[in-house]
Amino acid sequence: MTNLAPNEKYTNSAIRPGEPDPYPQKPVGEYITDVVSNNWVNDEYKLMVLKAPEKALTAYAGQFFHLLCPSPDGAEVWMRRPMSVYNVDKSAGQIEFLYKCEGRGTKGMGTLEAGDTFNVSGPLGIGFNLDPAWKNIVVLGRGVGLATLAPLSLMAAENGVGVTAILSARKTELVMSEDLFKGIGAATIKVVDTDGSSDVSNVEKILEGLILNGKADAFFTCGSSRLLKLMQTLGKSHGVPGQVAMEQIMVCGFGACYVCMRTFEVDGAQTLRRVCREGPVFNMQEAVGW
């Protein structure tokens, strides 16, 4: 606790810069982190690097943080924004987010500079898991969805699992993280709208080729309902298991408010699940597209 009278300098009773995590024994924290850098990686995406406490560094691929984004426009941003972790650098004590400056939250996030502070809560949710029986996996992501699949590919490489990454985007300049995927030894296949290679029919051919060549023990996807459906269909007919990372408008992040619901089909019956608590990574075959 500080000795400041409440509200002397702050407009609400919230954790303040310089205050330690009040509950170090709890798995999830609310922290005020320091922005190390926040730079553009292309015309649309930025990479934010945060100095984060030890508990935040336990985040693994597919988990997310709930970000209290500053306002980009003077009006209030009322709710946190969920964002999957792009990279955890344990030795440097840093976590990274790769994001598209699109809505008010991410635009506000884009205004932060090195030296600023940023309130984040996490790590939250259930991320990807790798079955030890899988020797080769295929990750298929479009746009910013690749930011979620990058740490999974890293995790796979660290466990000696081969990765084929199919990177889909509107145009070549917006293909994300190709260097990162190449750096971990993944085979990368770029598909873009401008030459038609990102068409579902072409991606389907690529996936079928990978299945035939024994490169697809499991499928992973994020960022496109169209590509999810494709992987579901192929996965079902060829017996390839899979996982999908999903998004939804979110409020609490802990499973309390039941705002972030998505539909799933389990044993022929439809049900709703919380993206924040039962996910954000789900069994691909049970997900119903959005």
């Binding site: 609400n12 009040p22 009006a75 039941y258 705002v259």
Partner: protein, 315 residues
């Protein structure tokens, strides 16, 4: 050091801070120590399993969020068997919240919820999204009286009536609830709201209407608490827009015994316990020995006025 404990009827709370129903669940134990809260308040339960409302369930507006969840849950039997034990692991009193569309079922549910681990039954007679006319049984005195009378007869547990800010005259509703035997009043539920998207001309929420949640509502709900506190003799839990210790003080000065917090816990997961810490500091710095000394302590009977203005008072 200040004594933060309050008694709401026979229920002893170690401090006046409790979560608002719907905005909280035992899963918050992942981030804060639930044993520090004044009470634990479960999400409203109904008899039948409910999926809830269509998505999107939340939209941001200029001055807060609107949300329409639709009381999702696995039904009363699952709740008593599986959810109540999740809360029973913690020390603070457990308030369960219940909703129904019929008076008979409201009473039956209250009876079924009267199990040893339950300390209080909050009667959510005011869910704004259960039907589109605003609240269920909290818009007209006779409805409030009927349902609270039936619930009172069905259980020996303390019953708290959660009122609607959408009622035309909340004071008369509050008096009706007290006369029917409510042990305390929770003021208030969310404000019925609407947002229309100008990009596609569609309502922003899947359920069309939602309840508004925002610090902007605090002065309005505070006014309701103040007015009701003048007319009833049972404790009030003020719910609406609390984000800091001073807000708790304000509600208590207006006559509340405790506050319920929703939005602040969404924005800052550690907010509830930080507000408890801050309230303690606030009281200690001012030499307040018991937080209960604040209840109804607003100084409104000797308002100092400029003589000329005083001369026109009451005109």
């Amino acid at each position: 050091m200040v004594d933060l404990s309050v008694k709401i009827g026979d229920v002893i709370c170690q401090n006046p801070i409790q979560p608002a129903s719907g905005a909280f669940s035992w899963e918050y134990n992942d981030v804060i120590d639930l044993n520090r809260l004044g009470a634990l308040v479960a999400k409203t339960i109904c008899r039948e399993p409910r999926l809830g409302n269509p998505t999107p369930r939340m939209a941001e507006t200029e001055a807060g969020i609107i949300q329409s969840i639709g009381l999702p849950g696995k039904g009363i039997d699952y709740f008593v068997e599986n959810i109540v034990p999740e809360y029973a692991r913690f020390k603070p009193p457990l308030v369960v919240s219940v909703s129904s569309e019929s008076i008979e079922d409201f009473a039956a549910l209250s009876r079924e919820l009267s199990v040893p681990d339950v300390d209080v039954i909050e009667c959510n007679i005011s869910c704004p999204t259960r039907n589109t006319s605003g609240g269920n049984f909290a818009l007209q005195e006779e409805h409030t009286k009927e349902v609270m009378t039936a619930i009172r007869e069905a259980t020996d547990k303390p019953v708290w009536a959660k009122l609607s800010p959408n009622a035309g005259d909340i004071v008369s509703i509050a008096v009706a609830a007290e006369e029917a035997g409510a042990d305390a009043l929770v003021i208030a539920n969310t404000f019925l709201s609407l947002k229309i998207r100008t990009d596609n001309f569609r309502p922003a929420l899947g359920n069309k209407f939602g309840g508004m949640v925002s610090p902007a509502l605090k002065p309005i709900v505070l006014r309701m608490v103040y007015q009701v506190a003048k007319e009833v003799n049972i404790p009030i839990i003020g719910v609406g827009g609390v984000t800091k210790a001073e807000d708790v003080v304000e509600y208590m000065l207006a006559g509340a015994h405790a506050v319920g917090i929703g939005y602040a816990g969404f924005r800052n997961p550690t907010a509830l316990t930080t507000i408890i810490d801050d309230l303690e500091i606030w009281c200690d710095e001012r030499g307040i020995e018991r937080v209960t000394d604040l209840i109804g302590a607003v100084k409104d009977d000797d308002m100092e006025m400029d003589p000329l203005v005083a001369a026109s008072h009451g005109v």
